[in-house]
Symmetry: C2
């Protein structure tokens, strides 16, 4: 069953619509971006009622195949002003797919100050006024209360906002519960949580009655594709060893070696205490402490990679799940903090507040650069998160506004943003392919839109990075459409046709990988069209000037991919 | 003598250059914009060393003709990201012209944390490290100290920044001393004071040795033009009566009647207590209190209009000079404050801090809309200015960031900005010609770029407002080039050729008004070219979406000039 659920928050009504034929092949990012481009005025106020918030599971989400149940959220971003797709794990994608929804479109806005919980079930949608206990509540408490009310983790999953989303902050993401019910998997980037807040929507509970196990058209081909895919997954060193053992944190050592690890607000690319926040150290600590700690854990049902983890305190009690490279980088080296216990607390707090750790970590770096707090002062950072950001003090509002706005407010020039969005934990002066992605992705400075770190190239050399970024961006788009986790990317190097086989088996088509690539190109074209109408062009596809001028130790590299290359990336 | 002074703040050197021939006819805004377009990379960091700050007197500045000694400051704006020209009275224009400088270009940046005073004299330029007493000092104290050092108000004048500029705030202007030495005439808009702060330049002292009285080529024509001009000035009811008697504050009643006076953050266009902050009331109070109060006062030597005033307290002691319509509107009705004594204190504080009252007043409106302070709470506002903004607390940083950034940080949608710049005190839903100017001026939402309020038209009717705004924008550009105060605009309705006569007498040319209009068109074209390269296009030439949707009482008008009209305004 393929249907679209359209929710009107202004009058709290809904309608179930058949999937338009032209959306037939579109899942995940492809369908959220198409709907936003079709229905949202590009120059609208991003936090006004004309913006729409679109959820979509990937095309293969809800199937039994590993790592396919990612969920996309699309809207016009209040952070960047561009179109945005923000991608997450957790259970929401699976559950929406199993209810037969290819997309859920939330329109309009309820009265500011009122707060609503949306309950989506097979044959009904309910608008429930949020009890007072949920208003201002963190993600963990919100999830606990709603699970108690709606039957527990076996009966439902949810997407919700924490205090950051209620306060309509640029750092606000949408928090999805994981398979254990933990409010910890974020559609983090671009302020999508602020858009949810602007609609006065506190949480969406998706009931998991699973009446409609998602199924494919061609059983034989499906089995064949799934078999190939699982074999690659089990054989590839990243998906079979590195991610399960070290999680994404394993990347930290690699990036530090390459001299691209953000250190003290991007003033250096190598952190003297990188080993203290690296994947190996994290694993050691988790194993040493035992208790509730897990080095290997899955964020969604049916994932065989299990890159997630549970970080325990000295008593073995869970502090946070999951510790990730981006967080260890932007809240560790980027702040001069060489302490995984501190980063674990930040991770927990960001999850509970519903905050994008990349954007907020970049903002803390600006705070330190401006002298508001001292480099390395973990307790000051914790206080800003838990007190100021949570309650929305003026300092907390600044912290919640993202690095671009905080930098401007504090008079800082060294601000690591593209299209007002904080760069991920790969300094583009050392990892130049990612720099190309930051510039040219319609999504702004988001590594998940096209991360070149896994490619065997000289990352310092600008040559060939435009083409490299383009191809990786296209693969990322395909994976985001289909619902695959980005960690399936490595497998596309081995046998991309496995992915088209599964697409074909599911859809009953005869597409090649090249056809999928063509569809991805058109998705990016749709997104760029929206952005163009919103006022974005070549001048915005740039790193900030200082990144072309200020050398990054230890390689003293600057970003030197030429603008002509950046501007021609999509002429292909 | 026509020369350009080029200052390098990085190594504290200077060079005097002959005026390039292609700049021959360019004064004021025309030359600042041309130099910025020629020399500043459009995508540079506005607060980085690649930006330049350009001062230029008008072409006729320094002559004996009334109201011609305005001074333009140009740069890439850190507030808008566009090219910016910000215009002011005071003595700086006159003094620079009398030193023979058609432009002063400040390049590079001194070490952050160091602060410098630049002393410009006939045959020398000195870089003097600012004494500690000046660092963080308000404009009044800074001016007093520097006047004491450099010979008093008969020997020099100055352009300086207050704490806001040192803190590189978006609301920071550059403060010029008036003929009495008062630090009170601002190049207010666009954050030009932040650019001065980014170069570590606290003040520019311009010595007034007047060795080179500015003179014209054709004596007979000059006398003829000046005579015509002065006759019109004495006969026109605005320049001979309204401005001298009521100052710009006389406009408040007009705009309130038209239903376009910003009231409680642009939620209404008529203020129930408008009479309490109007020009007539202001005049009554000043006359009643006597003492140091003046209803009529000139901001620069040789001005016959004398729209300025000095507002006294109940004891007759000066509080502020000058009280203006924009300030009475944005800090009075816009904040629900019906108290001229309060607005006078705000005016004084903004002058002393070096703050654009339009941008900062708009920001206070956002603070009230967000509930940070209560509507009408003048003492809370005063505390934010005098404590938070002055010392740069997080709240003060937000207050200094402008309405656009504060609105985003506080999650407010009703934010009255175009290109991130606060709209002046004419709500564009009721004064539609000004709405067209806000949208289409390369300067952003700045009424001085083309104020249609003086035109006898139906301001509520969208018809014809594109053409009207265009013509008024062109006249404003001509006046800004020549150095005339904007209040000469009314005279161009009577006999525009008076202005070409004076231009011709000065330059030895035979241009018509139409030729001047053509030059103004090319100035706007140059500015738009810079903006295009900086990433601005039609999508940015828009009012915020809510101004097209939210009706403005009492007329319940929305902005309804069509986009096609806006986009075709410069196709002429």
């Amino acid at each position: 069953m393929n249907r679209i659920l359209r929710i009107n928050m202004t009058d709290r009504t809904f309608v179930v619509e058949p999937l338009p034929d032209r959306y037939r092949y579109l899942g995940g990012r492809a369908i959220t971006s198409q709907i936003v481009a079709d229905e949202v005025p590009p120059t609208c106020d991003a936090l006004g009622p004309s913006n729409k918030l679109v959820w979509a599971p990937g095309l293969l989400s809800g199937t039994t195949v590993s790592s396919t149940s990612r969920v996309s959220v699309g809207c016009k971003s209040p952070l960047t002003g561009t179109i945005k797709e923000s991608n997450a794990g957790g259970e929401t994608g699976l559950l929406l797919a199993q209810l037969g929804y290819r997309a859920v479109i939330v329109e309009g806005a309820a009265e500011p100050g009122s707060w609503w919980v949306l309950v989506i079930d097979w044959d009904e949608v309910r608008f429930v006024e949020a009890p007072k206990s949920l208003i201002g509540a963190g993600g963990y408490a919100t999830a606990a209360e709603l699970f108690a009310q709606y039957g527990g983790v076996r009966q439902c999953g949810m997407a919700l906002i924490g205090p950051a989303g209620e306060l309509k902050m640029n750092v606000a993401g949408i928090v999805n519960t994981d398979r254990d019910g933990r409010a910890s998997r974020l559609n983090a980037r671009g302020g999508v949580g602020a858009v949810m807040g602007s609609k006065s929507l506190k949480a969406v509970v998706v009931m998991g009655n699973k009446r409609n196990p998602v199924s494919h058209v061609d059983e034989m081909r499906w089995k064949e594709g799934a078999r190939q895919y699982m074999r690659m997954l089990r054989e590839h060193p990243a998906t079979s060893e590195r991610y399960p053992q070290l999680g994404t944190a394993g990347t930290l050592e690699v990036v530090n070696k390459l001299g691209g690890l953000p250190t003290r607000n991007f003033s250096a690319g190598r952190f003297e205490a990188a080993d203290q926040i690296a994947g190996i150290r994290m694993r050691e600590i988790i194993l040493e402490r035992g208790g509730e700690g897990r080095t290997t854990h899955s964020c969604m049902t049916g994932c065989a990679i299990q890159c997630s983890n549970i970080f325990p305190d000295r008593m073995g009690r869970e502090v946070a799940s999951s510790m990730e490279f981006e967080t260890n980088g932007l809240w560790g080296s980027n702040l001069g903090i060489a302490d995984l216990d501190a980063v674990a607390r930040f991770t927990y707090l960001c999850n509970d507040l519903g905050v994008d750790t990349i954007e907020a970590g970049g903002t803390m770096g600006i705070f330190m650069e401006a002298g508001l707090i001292q480099w390395g002062d973990a307790s000051a950072v914790e206080h800003i998160l838990d007190h100021d950001l949570r309650s929305g003090t003026p300092l907390g509002r600044l912290a919640g506004s993202g690095a671009g706005i905080a930098g401007r407010a504090l008079g800082v020039v060294r601000v690591p943003v593209v299209k007002n969005q904080t760069i991920s934990a790969y300094d583009p002066r050392a990892i130049k392919g990612n720099g190309v992605t930051y510039c040219t992705s319609p999504q702004g400075a988001d590594h998940t839109a096209g991360n070149t770190i896994g490619m065997k190239v000289d990352h310092l050399d600008p040559a060939g990075k435009v083409a490299l970024s383009r191809e990786v961006q296209l693969v990322a788009t395909i994976l985001d459409m289909l619902g695959y986790c980005t960690f399936a990317r490595g497998l596309t190097d081995i046998n991309p046709e496995t992915f088209s086989t599964m697409f074909n088996a599911y859809m009953g088509t005869t597409w090649s990988w090249k056809d999928l690539r063509q569809l991805a190109l058109s998705v990016i074209g749709t997104e760029r069209g929206f952005n163009r109408r919103a006022g974005f062009g070549a001048a915005h596809d740039r790193l900030p000037e200082w990144m072309r001028k200020e050398p990054l130790p230890p390689h003293n590299a600057v970003f030197d991919v030429d603008n002509e290359g950046l501007d021609s990336i999509w002429e292909c």
